[in-house]
Symmetry: C4
Subunit: 319 residues, 4 copies
């Protein structure tokens, strides 16, 4: 085992815990791989959180479903009170009378209120007043949710699919490298990156313990992320991975978590992005090929599809 052991140091747990685990804490897509049990069942904040972060099709399904259910509910109430209290309806049978109630309900909920069907009597009028109020409030909620979804801060960063052990600088040096670029139209400034290496270490008592190291980087921040950025951890004597082999990484269930923080210049928000590379995503002996080129006018073109492209290279023996 060539991963350098360090003293047990609580400063190193970085908030991930020190229990030996056989899973990633951070998934490839940046989400957290921990299940929380005992969260409050009814929480407006959690509900809002879900509605804001779910995929669009699911969101629209919920909006349309809610509109339909509310309509059916109020239609049933009008029907129960009696459609004879809806002036202008002329349904011949139960089905058509229910439809009349349904269409009146839709016209009330959306506040379009044509008026060719209109409520009469205290109960129907009261329900109609309540329904139009409900419509307005629901619509206010929808406005808030839509704005919340649109304006939610989010960086979409394209990461290379692999993390490479590549030649680095002179003297047969090596570096651990991955590449990233901004996939969005917004400008990211003040970009900071942290690379956390974790693995299972055999402690003297035979029980494995999970260790975490924040790996030093050649450069951990850039002023502005215009092109692709190759993040490099130099595999020199200071690295816990100096003499490690691919086999070592596999045996210790090594994982490299990437935490990126940036400032989104368009929306004035600090955004975060995460990913992680498991030991089986490490390519030993490869180099990234360029991802940007000048076009015929001399303007630089950045090809996001080429961000993962690499070519094998021979690594010299470690000095």
């Amino acid at each position: 085992m060539a991963i350098k052991k360090h003293a047990v140091n609580p400063e190193d747990d970085l908030g991930f815990g020190t229990q030996a685990i056989s899973q990633r804490v951070i998934n490839r897509d940046g989400s957290i791989n921990v299940k929380r049990i005992g969260m409050p069942l009814l929480s407006t904040t959690n509900a809002y959180n879900r509605l804001i972060t779910m995929k669009w099709p699911k969101f629209w399904f919920i909006v349309l479903g809610g509109y339909s259910l509310a309509n059916l509910f109020f239609a049933s109430v009008y029907y129960a009170i009696g459609v004879e209290h809806l002036n202008g309806t002329e349904g011949k049978d139960s089905f058509h009378r229910f439809l009349d109630a349904l269409f009146f309900s839709a016209q009330t909920l959306s506040t379009v209120g044509y008026g060719h069907i209109s409520p009469s009597g205290i109960p129907t009028n009261s329900v109609a007043a309540l329904e139009s109020m409900t419509g307005l409030i629901s619509f206010a909620v929808a406005t808030g949710l839509l704005y919340g979804r649109f304006s939610r801060p989010s960086a979409r960063i394209a990461y290379s699919s692999n993390i490479l052990v590549a030649p680095y600088q002179l003297n047969n040096g090596r570096g651990l490298m991955f590449r990233m670029a901004n996939e969005r139209r917004n400008t990211l400034v003040d970009v900071k990156v942290e690379l956390i290496f974790s693995y299972n270490e055999q402690t003297p008592d035979g029980k494995p313990a999970r260790r975490f190291y924040s790996l030093p980087l050649e450069r951990s921040n850039v002023s502005i992320l215009t092109l692709s950025w190759t993040v490099v951890h130099p595999l020199d004597e200071k690295s816990p991975l100096f003499n490690a082999t691919l086999e070592d990484l596999k045996n210790s269930r090594a994982n490299f978590s990437v935490l990126v923080q940036a400032f989104d210049d368009t929306f004035s928000q600090t955004v975060h992005s995460r990913t992680s590379y498991d030991f089986d995503q490490v390519v030993w002996g490869a180099r990234f090929t360029p991802a940007f080129f000048p076009d015929e006018t001399g303007r630089v073109n950045l090809h996001l599809g080429k961000i993962s492209d690499h070519t094998p290279v021979e690594l010299s023996a470690n000095a």
Copy 2:
């Protein structure tokens, strides 16, 4: 009295004042235990603040109450002008005429405007124009309030019910410890914690003065709060509590205030959370039991309900 005395140092008041008090400044739920007198009575910002932070039932009560009151007000105006200016009404007595005015008002305020009742004459038409305008503006205000409530930054952090004096590291060390975890679905990154100890000290002139110390922590920040985090103040020679006993804490009305700052990754907001432990929440000689376990699939499950669980342990005599 074994709490180490320090020179009177104004840098230590941390904004809490140095007057001897027999109360917490920060309540268990994180609110501030100070009453302010002389605040401006009419302040939009204070009103907005209240409407945003009050509980949901109270909020809905105010919204529905406001809607009802506005309706009653405008209905009274239409009734005073005369319901004969509301075409399509056929109320036989005062009560039914007022109801007609009320339902017309509701249809106008919500802008549903069926039209089976419609205004005639200059006064009624003018009031109706004003009412629909009022409806729209109220609804705009409601939209803003709802969005403000939804998007309000807030961390909900579960704190252990007690703060423990527990064995810590080798050499019979002790630490003062509490535990915390994120109760929400959002991800908290860059979490910082400050632990402030305060107590009443007997000054030479016999008048007690309140002292405040920011206690040094084993680790005061984590990159990401995925699991539970046990915050530890080592009770070593550098601690003002090195030789203190539970009796000392009680006599000096000791309090431990916790100030947490974190970055909510989902909404790109810095959030704060606070709590405080009074001397009677200190457990002398106990250790937290684990709150997270791998489930059958190997995935880590964090049990929020177990965050306060602890078991008694014997403390060795201080070195």
Copy 3:
């Protein structure tokens, strides 16, 4: 002249410029006393800025005025096309016909659309379609403006009316002191204050130049602003004001600008507040009297109205 001269040092201008001036740069209420000429006349951002920051009465006047003007405009268009295209109207003379057009316009703009008056013919129908669209968009703008006004970050900090030269610590020390407290219900954490002293200095060539110094403070930040905070600049040997007299301050047109930054815990926003004290607000030889007291239940009450209260004291001669 006893204000200590420093070398001309461009690092000291702090963004205020070094030209001798006979005015405050920062007004008592925190606004900036500079007129900018040549700003773009038509700028949505500047218009939004004005609408968000103006007083409420002016804001409502603009909203209601805009609604009325839009109504009058569209009414004139309907009238010009001919009210005979508005079915359901029965105005006998020009005035009543215009009123019919006006009420129809109001019902369209607010989208209440009772329908007892309805458009016919291509021109009137087209204008009505445009008007309802205008109504919706205006209402969307109003919603945005209202939310913008509500949620605008703002600290309201009560500053003492005067800045005092008061006894400070042992050894006959003196300090320059002012006092501040939070006037709002929201909690301010992480409060930082900067005190900038400026005065006109006679340069060797006889032309006065404005000098600026950031005065060192006994304590320049507090973790949480729960009570009142007395900010102190010690008048010791390191102070440029060590031997200065009230006369010196007056002759050099001295000014003390206060820049406060805090984090509003309720809305997760960094807020700023500013004020400034001119030489005629300096009280030589006075001490602030307490502004908070425990009430009968032992709870601390902070009296915002007493924030400026001070009592004269005799200053010992400077050491």
Copy 4:
């Protein structure tokens, strides 16, 4: 070539890449001169980004165009179902029947719903219910977009058109200087500036490489930007440009990029602004003339139109 060569140092690339280029990376207006290929075609965030940042005329064109297209679409559906299901219509020919459908559609989409035309039959009623729902949702989206446009953080900073080589301090010193001022009504505090110099360097193998230096500034931040601010890079021995001539700058395709960060006090947002000066915007031997003056009342007036004004001066030979 008098630009001082430095060792090839990856810490110097500042996120711009080190490939020799014949173009600016940052345009005069602050936008980024890089084309990204392979961005996701359908992305709500990118669409929102575009709608928020486009010019107002284009935005209104899209809003009105969308409203018209939706109207035409629903009108076609009603027409296809048959206008005989729209009660109250009396179109004599196809064109007028389509117009009836169109006006009914407009009244439904805007929820004005006069009701003189009203739907009958299941298909028409269903489409109308869907249309009014669509209207409400579209309007919610429009509200969010408008608020997003209004509240988008943005600094508008006026930069001088040229960057000057001017006399600076005593001893025949020189400085590279540009000038900036706030063009907006909002107050900018805590303003930080970074000046990045880039040029093509001939490497030993004859291939030019782009080098980047963050130039040290006389003063890189101000507390509050009330007047104009002249940013100065002293051309002393520590500067890579110490002995450089205008010819050197031209031959190496020199560029000076300006990155400004500030805190907008009105909206509590961190804002960024960028510009860049190419070698042909450098004026060798000139000095800025004042841009602010006291008016007759003694109040300082800042003339934004004079921010670029400079006058030629003779430069002494470098020491």
